[in-house]
Symmetry: none
Subunit: 401 residues, 2 copies
């Protein structure tokens, strides 16, 4: 398997354009009554046409049998090794709300929790307070400055929030304050290396101040922190592929992941049509577009087979707006499977189609799980899709003499 | 490819059961007259039904073109990287006779050999003495104690035996005593590190004593040792997969391999029916069964095409006893190919079928080399079979957020 350093060494800029269209949780499982998956149930004349003109296959986001979360699923699609690119919990949460982390920021995942008069935890989730209440409490804590370090606090959902520490020379080498059980006190944050001592002190001062501020807000009268982490040192998509990349995604999580690998984030609406409109409007300004459709995954997670099939049909109906732009390379795939029958992400490989003048067509004439088995791309790790897209855009030079 | 550490981190116990049925040397080559392999020649209605309801593919035990021995073939099926899990020759021999090696034991492969009155080797294989004679000589040497180290000696076959050194703080860092040629003296065993000096002394004392004991037994009047090695530090199947695993195998070698990765060994008979009876009797006590059928490989090694096909038919006829147990996941495959036409192991990929409710069926309706080419599992390294079986048993949680 080619590594990023090799790809970086042979990639070169060119005007050719690549569109990576990700239908989140695209892969499915056959309905017991029809024997057809969601994708096979949907009528998809436009995707089928792309498949006939292109080359198809099945991709494993992480590896056979491995069910990926959204983070590894997308990192693989962007060409990164999803196992080696380990991203800390605090950063994942920040990315999930599309928080613009800066280099050097330390992010932690926070829980509001309930403590009794002795300071012992009675509920680690503060009775799952509403997101509105969480937002209100975050506003009370946001912007505190401790020893020249600014603490940014932002709501995630219900009792969950993020705390981002911004300042000079901060370290993420800290143990959690969350003891992961009730009936005990929150732990003081401990430094895991001598260099992190100052940072531990700052975090503990922040927590002490938060306790005072939250005092009257039972059941959310204390805060627990865990997963202190820094943005990983990933080379960006610009550096590796020499692309000018843009992301179009209506959900914050996917904008966050795109930002993490150095893509520009384009403003867009929540409907599939909005995203395609955004693509058309910005088409001249970039040479790589990551276009993310969330509704397929959401329907799969809800176990709604029919709705997932309808979303795929809806997506299919706007494909002509994409092909009208005539990008040199179109890739259509998913970041993982989300079969409605399993109501969640799964390990099943994901259909992938690549459409370009130079793709060497196979005989697949239908975009589906079963047809892709016999596709010319075979079964491939998802992290090989980007090199293939680059090659088909004629953006990779020869390796070796 | 996912590594064991990743699999370990996401595997969780559950009541679901997995049966891994290994037909040793399953894969074959087409008979010149019929164009059909052994598996394709056999009538296998039950395996074909499993294939129709399941998902199929072709697996490479070590890699394309690599003909595996039984050890790497099985290690790969258990999910270990067969190239990185290097197992010393002494340990392989001990495993091959199902000798229960303990942690810290040092095993060596031994040859009885003939030496002349000057001590020079005249026959490295002692005229291939009978296994009975070998057993008798091993009894003479077995149980010697040198410097608080017990030496266990057990026969393998003909002139071959194992010597296992058991005691505190032993090292395997030793050169062979076997010079691999005649007309010279056996070498004194040399320490390859300063820490192994004591062990070298112990081995040389044992060899000197053996020479005295064997003096009257020409042509088996001396012993050569090589391949000093220790049980590898493999994480067990229990640790990695959180399984309660049992092995059913009529041949010692396969029980030994299963023992090496921490499986319980179930008493069984020598017939295929006996092994299936053992499975049924112990079905409630374990959640993973490795069931090994040797006769396919033996027929292939003998170059007996017809017998190999008949063994496969015989196996097929007892498949209903397996399916009646309704395990959540059934895998049927081999550890390598043994085409009767080649009379030995070969590099050809091995048919594999996986049967489970969640497998995403493909269109393969026959269990055969040629049908498996178009299977939904595609072509996969054998070490990915266990993660797939675990996923299909819903025993793997999501990787990454």
């Amino acid at each position: 398997m080619a590594d990023l350093e090799l790809i970086r060494s042979i990639s070169q800029p060119s005007p050719a354009k690549i569109v990576l269209l990700v239908l989140d949780g695209l892969g499915g499982l056959p309905h017991p009554e029809t024997g057809k998956t969601e994708l096979e149930t949907a009528s998809t004349p436009n995707l089928d046409k792309l498949a006939s003109e292109g080359i198809c296959g099945l991709s494993d986001p992480v590896g056979p049998g491995i069910t990926p979360g959204s983070t590894p699923g997308h990192l693989a699609l962007f060409g990164y090794d999803p196992v080696r690119c380990n991203i800390g919990r605090g950063v994942v949460e920040a990315v999930g709300i599309d928080f613009a982390l800066q280099a050097g920021d330390i992010a932690a995942r926070g829980n509001f929790c309930a403590v009794d008069e002795r300071g012992l935890i009675t509920d680690r989730r503060a009775g799952r307070i509403s997101t509105e209440k969480c937002t209100e409490l975050c506003q009370l804590l946001d912007g505190m400055v401790v020893d020249r370090v600014k603490v940014l606090v932002a709501p995630v959902k219900e009792h969950r929030f993020i705390a981002v520490f911004r300042g000079e020379g901060l370290m993420a080498d800290l143990a959690d304050s969350d003891p992961q059980q009730t009936g005990v006190s929150p732990k003081a944050v401990a430094a895991l290396s001598p260099e992190a001592e100052r940072m531990a002190g700052i975090v503990n001062q922040f927590v002490a101040q938060a306790k005072v501020t939250l005092a009257g807000h039972h059941p959310a009268n204390m805060a627990l922190l865990r997963g202190f982490s820094q943005r990983p040192h990933l080379p960006t998509v610009r550096e590796i592929y020499k692309l000018k990349p843009a992301a179009i995604a209506s959900y914050p999580m996917y904008r966050g992941l795109a930002r993490l690998v150095g893509m520009d984030i384009l403003e867009t609406g929540t409907a599939i049509e909005d995203e395609f409109e955004t693509l058309a409007r910005n088409y001249g300004k970039y040479d790589f577009f990551f276009l993310h459709i969330k509704a397929t995954d959401a329907a799969g997670e809800d176990g709604d087979f029919e709705r997932k099939a309808r979303v795929i049909e809806q997506l299919d109906s706007v494909i002509p707006r994409l092909t009208a732009l005539r990008p040199e390379v179109i890739v259509v795939t998913g970041d993982h499977s989300t079969p409605a029958l399993l109501k969640g992400h799964s390990w099943h490989p994901v259909p992938v189609l690549l459409h370009s003048e130079w793709c060497r067509r196979d005989k697949v004439s239908e975009f589906s799980e079963s047809a892709c088995i016999s596709g010319g791309l075979g079964r491939l790790p998802a992290m090989e899709i980007m090199p293939l897209a680059m090659a088909n855009a004629l953006k990779l030079t020869k390796f070796g003499a």
